[in-house]
Subunit: 254 residues, 2 copies
């Protein structure tokens, strides 16, 4: 079976200027993969209308699922919604349910629900709202595009509410073979083990500590049996070279 | 004058799987912008030959400068070099200078300079080497593409050696106007100040702390005078609404 594929689109000048460090790609990548969704690419693009529209069209056509972050706030530089709507040939409407949530959210504060904040209730027609338990202003789904806020805590809260309704696949089996030996020494072992185990891929990640070095070989595949067999074969091959090798269920390297 | 544009291409399954968190986009974004080079996009793509070749061609044609990270090590999953060469219609050669550096590096260790490690001396013909003061294996420049290692410390050391030879532009002037008020309240002020100052763009970044909130408005432009005037106008507009506003030379938000 084939797992669904996905792309992440980060929209924001603040990431490209280096002012803000993106945290959403790494977090979403972990969640999607754990869910059995294969993340195939991630892009960071500027707040430029044509670029957003063209990139959304392209990623939406190329992948089963697209996740965007950023550009749905109340200010003039928040242009994601009008661009998503244009990409799908839809109009932007004042969404009654989104508006009701925002009115309820601001009612008990001394913050005015002014014209700028009302903009956060503008959603493309036919979109499905995504709950925002932190600050009310919802994300939404249009076609296969899932539109999240850029603030990491809000994006994560939105994703948690959505997780169970995402089309899943079989989660990949991933094993780390921790090898106390340089990657250059076991390169040919890794290559032959990968070739001998269908559907398994081995990533090689060297690590260094004062006075120590080693390689975290990440063995991954859709079939758990074949993946475990490949990890065992790799560990044997490394031990045959006189180094220790330990299989771990999942790892962060040295 | 127009500043040179750039794209970053991160090549690596380990980022897309969520196993490793990318640190290179954020670091390079800061360095390039400080240098007056406009970063226009960043992409993360998997270790797939066709994808790497096509993306390198596309980004190389669309931008003045391209910076890649990852995939130039000694193992089977390091396929960046063969792909870069193919994208430019070049052959990969065993580079004498790169080989000499690697031989010298491994001579005083008990690490064998075996076939896998020798692969790190394979460089596209006509490429210019980029020094690697940490682990000898060089990066290189081919056309407008700058090929770096993926390990952040090595990428950073490679970039430092290269910095002075990069085509620079006029560094953008960036000012942060720290406003003790929600972005939704000053949305229309920001919009009108931006409209009234040619070539200036204002990014709006709300922040929250326990019991406090505010907006960091980042005012940026190529002309220092116009940019300072815009920041001053914005601060006045915010103070007219009864909130404090402080202009800072550069900031990380609240």
């Amino acid at each position: 079976m084939t797992n669904p594929t996905a792309a992440i689109l980060v929209i924001g000048d603040e990431i490209l200027s280096g002012r803000t460090k993106d945290k959403n790609i790494g977090w979403l990548a972990e969640q999607l993969n754990a869910q059995g969704i294969q993340l195939r690419e991630a892009r960071v693009i500027p707040d430029v209308r044509e670029t957003i529209i063209e990139t959304v069209k392209l990623l939406s056509a190329a992948h089963d699922l697209v996740f965007t972050s950023g550009g749905i706030g109340p200010t003039h530089d928040d242009i994601t919604t009008e661009c998503i709507a244009t990409a799908f040939g839809k109009k932007v409407i004042r969404h009654p349910e989104a508006e009701a949530r925002l009115i309820a959210h601001y009612k008990d504060t001394d913050i005015e629900f002014n014209e700028a904040r009302q903009k956060m209730a503008d959603i493309p027609e036919d979109a499905t709202l995504i709950d925002n338990p932190l600050s009310a202003a919802p994300g939404y789904i249009l076609g296969n595009v899932h539109v999240f806020a850029g603030v990491p805590s809000i994006l994560q809260a939105m994703f948690e509410g959505l997780r169970d309704s995402l089309p899943g696949g079989v989660a990949m089996t991933r094993l780390t073979v921790q090898c106390a030996i340089g990657e250059g020494t076991i390169a040919s072992v890794m290559e032959s083990v990968q070739a001998a185990h269908d559907g398994v891929s081995i990533g090689s990640y060297p690590w260094f500590k004062p006075g120590q070095f080693g390689t975290a070989a990440v063995v991954s595949g859709l079939d758990p049996d074949v993946t475990h067999a490949a990890a065992a074969a790799l560990a044997r091959g490394v031990r045959d070279l006189g180094a220790t090798a330990e299989i771990q269920p999942l790892g962060e390297g040295g």
